[in-house]
């Protein structure tokens, strides 16, 4: 199977299923994950965030190669997963019950 992410990020390949194009998909995966899973993803990806940004910023944002684009999507997932890991210790924001809010317009990249 071919790699999802750029070769320099082979260490994150096992989290390739976090490379999701839309906020709705990223948020849904967060809610479907246990705290242990979120922590594991965060612990692996957070230390690589700076390098990921440097890798992507070799290219103009509107001309990213596909593998860099997928790496950036994985970084968006890291942003989404950081909330439970860094503060809440639960997948949903506290005191939000069944409230939902959908991203109906978001950038293409």
């Amino acid at each position: 199977m071919s790699a999802v992410l750029p070769a320099e990020f082979a260490d994150l390949e096992r989290f390739a299923d976090w490379s999701l194009r839309t906020e709705a998909e990223r948020y849904a995966k967060r809610l479907a994950s246990s705290m242990d899973e979120l922590q594991e993803f965060y612990d692996a990806a957070f230390p690589r965030l700076e390098a990921a940004m440097e890798h992507c910023d070799q290219y103009p944002l509107d001309a990213l190669p596909d593998d860099a684009k997928r790496l950036l999507w994985l970084c968006y997932s890291l942003v989404n997963a950081s909330f439970p890991v860094e503060v809440w210790r639960q997948a949903r924001v506290p005191d939000s019950g069944a409230a939902s809010m959908d991203a109906v317009i978001e950038p293409a990249i």
């Binding site: 906020e23 957070f46 965030l49 700076e50 990921a52 940004m53 992507c56 910023d57 103009p60 944002l61 990213l64 860099a68 950036l72 970084c75 968006y76 890291l78 942003v79 989404n80 950081s82 909330f83 860094e86 503060v87 809440w88 924001v93 506290p94 005191d95 939000s96 019950g97 069944a98 409230a99 939902s100 809010m101 959908d102 991203a103 109906v104 317009i105 978001e106 950038p107 990249i109």
Partner: protein, 431 residues
């Protein structure tokens, strides 16, 4: 205790004596009968913001808006001369909704050369003219010129598209927005075209969500669990005080401090915020927006601590301009007295690097997480207001814009009833 000065009267509320200081009735938020009055008194008689010109980039670009509260759907279109027009979204033949896709009640957008009714194929030009009628000779004494689309008043102010469903309205949108609108003319909204839009169905009266976003008194408490523990304790200790408040006509604004972008102490923010240099208040590294000085209506106190100005444009349009050069709009579209659709839209200068894009992503997702807490709390409020167990509530000085909002909304309803010759709804002394 006070961190920021108040007017000579001793409070912001007393600075505007028409507001009073007594407890406020929320009987305007818990009854179907009152909402029915609001639909005609407010939503069919005021300028409503339905979008931005960037949604209409070229001739023939259009979008529809479902204005349930105003009992209509409108289609807004860019005309051949570069102007913007709005029409009731109804075919003149037999009343079919003119522009929709698979689901008649869902909004849509696109680009076309003309509007074609799905039912019998009548076609209308972008200016609303009826251009084609299937088997026209079958009709009686028929002149197409008599059957153009029903136009709605439509104006563009600073790139924001407004409609007014009152055919007798004589006030321009800019006059309606008044001093508060005039004070922000010239802000470069048109540079901020990177859009993140969120939508939620909220189980509360529309005014309750405006209440939630028109005061920050709640922020250190309701959102305490969003921050690192030490920062959260500090914020609770401070509470919240606005830098300044203003009310003018039907509209109001609060100017607020915003020490978080960038924060004075990096240990007070989360690791993701430190590395991405962003957070609730937006990206810390401000893009150039070509302004030497803010328009006079922004940061009116010219405070060095300024972080954000929040405008409540009656009835249902809020505009938040953040110090780090981005803005948010909120819209609240009622669907019943106890439900509405909330739209929160974030506008950034388009990023040119992945690093900038990630900083914006963090701000957008942070906004969503705060708004989820706000939205859920509203359903709890609505359910208890409906019990009628308590009907009047004390509003503090930091809640002045809520006092003004409910007073304005009730005043509109009373004026409407007087026009109809009916007995006005009883208005409590406070509101």
């Amino acid at each position: 205790m006070a961190h920021f000065p108040k007017p000579a009267e001793g409070s912001w509320t007393e600075h505007f004596p028409q507001l009073g200081t007594a407890p406020v009735s929320y009987s305007d938020s818990n009854s179907a009968d009152h909402y029915e009055l609001e639909r005609d008194a407010i939503f069919r008689r005021t300028w409503l913001n339905v979008g931005r010109v960037e949604q209409l980039p070229r001739t023939g670009s259009y979008f529809t808006r479902e204005l349930d509260a105003a009992r209509t759907s409108v289609v807004v279109v860019r005309t051949a001369d570069g102007g913007v027009k709005a029409f009731h979204n109804i075919c003149r033949h037999r009343g079919n909704k003119l522009v929709w896709n698979d689901f008649p009640r869902e909004e849509t957008a696109g680009t076309c050369r003309q509007f074609t009714c799905k039912y019998h194929g009548w076609r209308y030009g972008l200016e609303g003219d009826l251009n084609f009628v299937q088997q026209e000779s079958e009709f009686f004494n028929f002149d197409r010129a008599d059957y153009g689309l029903a136009e709605v008043q439509c104006e563009v102010w600073e790139g924001f598209v407004f409609v007014n469903l009152d055919p007798d309205n004589t006030e321009s949108a800019s006059d309606y927005l008044g001093d508060l609108g005039a004070g922000i003319v010239g802000y470069p909204f048109e540079r901020m075209t990177q859009v993140h839009k969120f939508r939620a169905e909220v189980g509360s009266n529309w005014k309750l969500f405006i209440d939630a976003f028109a005061e920050f008194y709640h922020a250190p408490v309701l959102h305490a669990k969003q921050a690192v523990a030490e920062e959260s304790r500090k914020l609770s200790g401070y509470g919240f005080e606005g830098l300044s408040y203003d009310v003018s006509g039907d509209h109001g604004m609060v100017s607020s401090w915003g020490g978080m972008s960038p924060p004075k102490d990096l240990n007070m923010v989360k690791p993701i915020e430190r590395i991405l240099r962003s957070g609730l208040f937006g990206p810390w590294d401000r893009p150039d927006i070509g302004l030497d000085e803010l328009p006079p209506g922004l940061n009116p106190a010219r405070s060095p601590s300024w972080g954000i100005d929040t405008f409540v444009f009656f009835p249902n349009f809020m505009l938040l301009v953040w110090a780090p050069n981005w803005y948010i709009t909120y819209h609240y579209w009622p669907t019943s007295y106890r439900s509405h659709i909330f739209e929160g839209t974030l506008y950034f200068v388009p990023p040119t690097t992945a690093r900038e894009r990630l900083a914006q992503e963090l701000a957008a997702v942070t906004f969503k997480e705060y708004a989820l807490q706000d939205g859920n709390t509203l359903e709890a409020t609505q359910s208890m207001l409906e019990t009628g167990a308590v009907t009047e509530f004390p509003l503090c000085d930091q809640e002045i814009l809520l006092r003004h909002l409910h007073q304005t909304a009730r005043g509109r309803v009373s004026a409407h009833q007087e026009r109809l010759g009916a007995t006005p709804v009883r208005i409590s002394a406070a509101s």
